[in-house]
Amino acid sequence: MESNWATEHLQAIRTLMERAAIYRRALAPVMLLAGVVGLAAAVAGWFLQIDSPRAFIGYWFGVSVIPLAGAVFLVRQQALRDGEPFWSPPMRRVTFALLPPVVAGFISSVVLPVHLRGLDANTANVLGMLWLPLGWIVLYGCALHAAGFFMPRGMKLFGWIFILGGCGLFALGIPDLPRATYAHGVMGFFFGALHLAYGVYLYFTEKNET
């Protein structure tokens, strides 16, 4: 009898400590924003015929700033509305979990265009518009998966979709499609459609949980 309450107390303490470490900001608006921006950017990139590797990298690099800034703004608004600090301990944990793969993606995106200069057009195309975007997808999946340890609602699974999807496309090799169409299509699917789908899912599930 006596050990029962002690065990229950310990269990309750463990549960509460885990709950305190979880990041609780609503992610649906962030995901929806990222999805809309990703899809619009893919369509715009295809229409504008951004089909050189360096232009492609620069274009998507610039596009990535929009959802990133939007996410910071939305999360900050939520924190202000709830009277909570923006840079809270769960926020710090999530940010630090995201950082290594994001920094790796950033550095490779800055370094690769420099090395593309001396390469022939086909190699540069494959590197800049096929392998680099797939690398972004895999690294982004790693970042989501790492952050998922401090987030509820299937974030780790979402990360796995990026990792396996990116690796799967690597395994398929070089597709017999116009390079720019394929590259913008892949970016639009992963960074647009998938985010949009996850955002819609979160929109309906997060409300119930909160």
């Binding site: 006596e2 050990s3 509460l16 202000l80």
Partner: protein, 103 residues
Amino acid sequence: MNPEPFLQLDRVIHEKGRLAIMSLLAATVELSFTEMRDTLTMTDGNLTAHIRTLHESGYVSVTKAFQGGRPLTTYTLTAQGKKAFATYINLLEQIVQQTKQSK
């Protein structure tokens, strides 16, 4: 069974609401009032009363600041609070172990 661990349990922490607050604060560097209230689904009055008891016992420190022109109160476990919480957990584990051995 040795009743000693049970008698040594800190009565300030042993109360359910205060134990919940201590558990949350032990898992993180600091928490705001609203974060705690929402996580524990406590009323403002109840949470305030428990925090006051913990603060008076020297277990929780209170920081008042302003963020975006609005007051922001955050709470942290003090060194004394961390020690008391660790002792409390150890005693609970001793009680569980003792009961397992006596079966």
